[in-house]
Symmetry: C2
Subunit: 412 residues, 2 copies
């Protein structure tokens, strides 16, 4: 089964909104063996939407659209769907009833415009939207499935996971598409590729992609076929050859991020953690607490931007700041050790550096960052020179210190 | 001039990577009057890429691709470009020289694979890549411009801003496309639409889009034409009518986010700020310090996840925590006031709540969040019930407390 995703909205074409929906949908579909082979975006324009939907229905087994189902006048997808499937909007009693309950719970009155959400194309299968008012609109005709979903990411995700995926799974008959991930940190993409080449490895019956990000480079193997155990065997063979070559750079061979890996280790080892951040300004604490259940290991963080805060909160010595400066190995060490001591945690992380764009000097240029992990033996400090803008420097700093922590946790 | 953006990469189709490039490119192009009317993504597959590029060249004035220009074997765009423009790869002396300098600076030796980056299509105009090794590849033939850029976002952005946009501007003859933004906070999209409808306003000669996000709803007006002053006049008329109706919800009519607005106010009023976060776990500090120059106003932050940290760091009273709980108006107030006192800042923000998915009770469900702003008069606390997942609850909390701060700053 092959699929096209059509995302609808002027705001996507104009760049005012980044389209995160298509990536989410593609991932979900791949997991059940449906291959997205094309993706496109069109504006809020009846002709463009109609043309893309019709072209999709002619060439693909599954056509998914997101966006344009809301109550306002720039939301025109429902009208186009009626034209494509030669039907009309009718008011659905059960949708209206659900709307009424929802507005009652919110304690606000339902406007005429909001009531319009009960009007949906006649003959469609409506998929209940657990997080919003626009149901999914599904037509399954002549072997082709069409589904329109709301553009709000949280609503689209709920519709995908709770309605469309179960529907497609029940419908059955997909190819087997499987992946294996090999995630590395601290080595550039071209170096990984060279290592593999020099080892004599070439992909055999699989496709290999290098996925670089600030959180490392993931080698992604994709196997494809009709027989699951065959696909698994081929994948495994390639996987093992690659692992043999790059093993010392691997942090995970599961579908997990560096952050996932670190938080799993923190839980396994039953240790506690605190953070003392200067240049990363709360980013490390934010990332750690993005994960549900982080209160098991994360105790507290300090964002000490000023020298005064570094001294008062973390006990960094005035002489250290004067002699070496705020961006120095010594200050970073005292930050981490001070945080660990005052928060009484097993580990503490610290960052201090120049994230830019201003503040750099010849001696301490933008991108110079010190990162530390403190444990009962004191702190290990790493000096880094990152290139890139403020966002990149902060993000790289956060991942690099998380990787330092990972290595420490593995030593335990 | 109309444009199509083609993003290339299996990782984009499979959803492993979110395509942020297309949005960036579209925004940049609109600013010089080039309209992106279609966008699509294809995998690392020679036939698919060639078909989309050829279809693009036939129907659009400008065809932009990103991705597939790297050194590894899944990077096949250069080969396709050679086929499309009937040319071949040759080694460019000046590109090789630049590569050598780059590797020397990095202090690593240049592999054969890396050297391959000096091979580029003969006859192309090469655009220097200030941040990476893959130059932009431009062909300008028979009135149609083709440009291929690297897929790494920072490199693509530098190529756009420093090379392609200047090239297109010099080439000239674009339509005038202008926007006006009206950004609101704290009012849902459908309510805004109803208010406008009931006021009798309808868009006149402009297109209006509602752009909802957790940072508010932006009304975006787009005017389009050949004469700049005509377009400006039409936009202004619509803009003023809308502002009149929704004015009390507006936080900005510039192209600025709520965060931008708050940081601008902090600088204007010359005040200092600190943060005490529980459920947002560093997110507020992270957002504030995302902005370059934040050390002018941001002094320090505390992420006090545990009750002990709330007491030790912020001076929250043990009785308060026992009597009302960590998620309560009283605790939130003491957090904000304690932070402001100990950090000696003009303002302090605080958050405490249940971000979920676990930890909710009937009395204090997931999504219950208290947010506070403290100033010399004490703290103002707001009780919120957010729906959504952990990410949504934390994000809404952060923006809501920033909006509270904005309102306080405007009172000064």
């Amino acid at each position: 089964m092959n699929a096209i995703i059509i995302t609808i909205g002027d705001e996507i074409l104009s760049g005012a909104t980044v389209d995160t929906n298509a990536a989410y949908i593609a991932k979900d579909l791949l997991a059940i063996g449906v291959d997205v082979t094309k993706r496109c975006s069109v504006g809020d324009n009846t002709e463009d939407i109609e043309r893309e939907i019709n072209a999709g229905l002619a060439a693909f087994d599954l056509v998914i659209t997101t966006g344009g189902l809301g109550p306002t006048e720039d939301d025109i997808t429902k009208g186009v769907i009626c034209r494509v499937f030669e039907t009309q909007l009718i008011e659905y009693g059960e949708v209206l009833a659900a709307l009424k309950v929802r507005y009652q719970q919110l304690g606000i009155s339902m406007s005429e415009m909001a009531r319009g959400m009960a009007k949906q194309p006649e003959g469609a299968t409506l998929l209940a939207n657990p997080l919003g008012t626009a149901p999914g609109i599904l037509f399954d005709r002549e072997g082709t499935v069409f589904c329109a979903m709301a553009g709000v990411p949280s609503e689209m995700r709920a519709l995908m996971d709770q309605a469309l995926i179960p529907y497609l799974e029940k419908r059955g008959s997909h190819r087997v598409i499987l992946f294996r991930n090999i995630s590395t940190f601290g080595i550039p993409e071209s170096k990984l590729a060279t290592m593999l080449k020099e080892s004599g490895y070439t992909p055999d019956g699989v496709r290999m992609a290098f996925l670089p990000s600030y959180a490392g480079v993931t080698l992604r193997l994709r196997g494809d076929g009709l027989d699951r155990s065959e696909v698994e065997k081929t994948l495994e063979k390639n996987f093992e050859e690659i692992c043999e070559v790059v093993k010392k750079h691997i942090f995970s061979t599961e579908e997990e991020s560096l952050l996932d890996k670190v938080t799993t280790l923190l839980k396994e080892k039953k240790v506690t953690l605190s953070t003392a951040e200067s240049c990363t300004g709360g980013l490390i604490a934010k990332m750690l607490t993005d994960i549900a259940g982080s209160s098991d290991y994360f105790v507290q963080g300090a964002v000490t931007y000023s020298n005064e805060a570094k001294m008062a909160r973390l006990g960094v010595k005035s002489e250290t700041l004067q002699k070496y400066g705020a961006v120095s190995e010594q200050t970073c060490r005292e930050m981490a050790e001070g945080m660990r001591r005052t928060s009484e945690t097993d580990f503490a992380l610290a960052s201090t550096g120049i994230a830019g764009p201003g503040g750099g000097t010849a001696e301490k240029p933008v991108g110079l960052v010190y990162l530390a992990v403190a444990d009962h033996n004191g702190a290990t400090v790493k000096r880094c020179s990152f290139s890139g803008d403020r966002y990149v420097i902060r993000t790289r700093s956060a991942y690099t210190v998380l990787n330092l922590l990972r290595l420490k946790l593995l030593e335990m």
